[in-house]
Symmetry: C2
Subunit: 260 residues, 2 copies
């Protein structure tokens, strides 16, 4: 470990939240390999919905994966954010040129960015000052068609490597489930104000005790033309520059008036 | 369940991430009981560092807790965000007047807001349009002295109930570990740009296989006087208005220039 930078090509760290066996990470690797040298550190099992969780009360395992014999590839027993931290500290022993997360099986637009392990890995990259991006396809199917998402990833990775990347942000890229030729283009957007209407499916186990499955409907409101939801609903790939400064600057003066 | 609103007093939902047995939640309940009727839905085990994680690949349990016989109190098998979702959908069957999370054993200033289960519960409250606040004390000790934090919580809860609460935000309140009389006051701040320098403690198990503990140092840089870090290091309680719109609006024009 720690000797990945064998060439002058960019060093590309790849992770995801669906786990190392997911079709989405294979798709991302196929695109990324043309841009640089690849290191993979991905969860050993699905970690969807893990948000920015880290493992503090348990140990982490890091194991060489046989799935990608051409690359330095590891599985991690923790969350996507754990993967990024372990990759930097123990695998690369430094920062990669760029960090790619995904391609997620399922949408991470609007407020989903907060629940998304895919995006939290990218946010962690931004906190480490690494140009980082999370890719998501609007299709939960394990065998989804990633051709449109691969096209989008190729465009975005090329531009990331060509341009100065703004500090303290990452990119949240979502791709509609359309054939590549039907994608209308790529739009830079803001995060829509759209939320889940939660519901719980209450069932009873073999002992008669209740348990709950989290379910719900995603309320695709806030369809202003500058939102990711609008872009996706109109056939565009959405790109939201995403920051980890969560300060609500506009509210500081109002709270100051409380006289605390 | 669903019949909590027995009085005209505010209905106060209380959760945390250290679990229902933590001293911090007992302290918060002691303060909150004077302000309204209390419902408690807290994790059945420590959930520190869970960020905005939700349980999507497993079932959730919700059980009446015997720890608080005077209140409607439940434990949940999931994360702090799961607790908020279950409280709204299955316990209260509606929105409480306010949501209080904590008091956390340990600091949640600066970028810790992203890792914090305490704060993610408050952020989830904000997404549900509930005036919400997370409280944290700068002391990890299980038997920490919460007297200063209780004083701060009392001030903040009173003002939350007296004033209009800005929409789409919550409050991140951190309290230095000082005797109440040495607290210099309460400052409304921005989230400092301060990060963890991660480190992993690599050990070997009884079979000789490596495992890792996440560790590190919190780099208290960015000591501008308007930050939470400055406030805390100078004896003030910090209050950061915190939003869940993570769009980096300032970066949209720069990314647009990439010509994607």
């Amino acid at each position: 470990m720690g000797e990945q930078k064998k060439s002058d090509r960019p060093l590309i760290l790849i992770t995801n939240d669906d786990g190392i066996q997911a079709k989405g990470i294979f798709s991302l690797i196929e695109v990324a390999k043309d841009f640089g040298d690849i290191v993979i550190v991905a969860p050993d099992k699905p970690q969807s919905g893990m948000g920015h969780a880290i493992t503090v009360n348990n140990v982490l395992r890091l194991s060489r994966s046989p799935l990608f014999p051409d690359y330095e590839a590891y599985t991690c027993s923790g969350t996507p954010v754990d993967c990024v931290k372990l990759a930097i500290s123990e695998v690369i022993k430094g920062r990669p040129s760029i960090l790619l997360s995904g391609i997620n099986h399922g949408e991470n637009s609007a407020s989903n960015v907060l629940y998304s392990g895919t995006m939290s890995a990218a946010v962690e990259g931004a906190m480490e000052d690494i140009p980082s991006v999370g890719f998501s396809l609007l299709d939960f199917d394990a065998d989804a068609d990633f051709s449109g998402a691969k096209w989008a990833a190729k465009q975005v990775i090329a531009k990331m490597l060509e341009n100065d990347f703004p500090r303290s942000i990452c990119l949240n890229v979502n791709v509609p489930q359309l054939p590549t030729e039907e994608l209308k283009g790529i739009k830079i957007c803001r995060q829509a104000k759209a939320y889940w209407r939660d519901n719980f499916d209450k069932r009873h186990d073999q002992f008669g005790k209740p348990y709950y499955w989290l379910t719900g409907d995603f309320n695709r409101s806030d369809r202003s033309e500058d939102t990711d939801i609008w872009a996706l609903d109109n056939g565009y790939v959405s790109v939201v520059p995403t920051q980890f400064d969560m300060t609500a600057y506009h509210a500081i003066s109002q709270i100051n008036e409380w006289g605390l």
